[in-house]
Symmetry: C2
Subunit: 155 residues, 2 copies
């Protein structure tokens, strides 16, 4: 068995524990750097009352804590299911190098466990999205926010 | 001044506090439901060593805590800057109805504060992405994960 498969099966076992022990979502994720496991996590949306607490997201956060910095450059994530766009973007922004997943959206669709919905929304033109997104260029009195930020950075 | 502008200026003031008091990223966000402010948050990536702790994400998490459920149906988010795809997806998945932002990616670009990068990555074909994403259909021995989940749901 390849190393990739070994870590993916670990993510599946985490997900299975979530189903059997906590009766909740079947998702797990493992973060690895240089052959070392930095974090193992499960979907904790129900446990934490936090809609963002997907398995990959919790794994990213735990890996950041393990490294003591918000930067996962060079890390690989092994996820039981296809990441939703929130988690995919979180991993990308953190500098994750590669993501492997064991269950595709097609595998998940018959169980209503596909992450497709978020990608469909993002791919829609703005005027066709379910969630309105609108630019209202309000400005506070006084110095401009971004100018103040640049000034601080220059110090 | 419209209510939208009032909340956006509140998000800008939060962001300005982050710059002036904590010398960090100029981003703030406010979550409102039925005219009531549920959460006010700032970018806490540096403070928490968590790459996912963007202002909108922290606001979503705090609003979930305030409501005691991982569901922000009917909420509106006011963000100082254009949301990155992680935050946009987090808000969408949580059921947020509308998002207003005060500084666009174009406003942010001269300061290197645009969220464009994450959208560019998502729009790339898989084989051209910076972050590898690969399907490896590993399976554990014993019952299938998603079948086990369905069985539990049926109880």
């Amino acid at each position: 068995m390849s190393t990739t498969e070994t870590y993916l099966i670990d993510s599946i076992r985490l997900a299975m524990e979530n189903v059997r022990e906590r009766n909740t979502w079947p998702f797990g994720a493992v973060v690895v750097k240089d052959g070392q496991v930095l974090a193992r996590a499960v979907n904790e949306v129900e446990a934490t009352c936090d809609s963002s607490a997907h398995a990959e997201m919790q794994a990213v956060r735990a890996a950041c804590r393990a490294l003591g910095k918000p930067d996962l450059t060079g890390c690989t994530v092994y996820a039981s299911g296809y990441p939703c766009p929130m988690c995919l973007s979180a991993m990308y922004l953190a500098g994750v190098r590669a993501v492997y997943y064991a269950y595709s959206n097609e595998d998940g669709a018959p169980y209503d466990l596909s992450a497709e919905r978020g990608y469909v929304e993002l791919a829609r033109p703005l005027e066709q999205r379910e969630m309105k997104l609108a630019y209202v260029p309000a400005r506070d009195e006084g110095p401009d926010l971004y100018e103040a930020w640049r000034e601080r950075q220059g110090r």
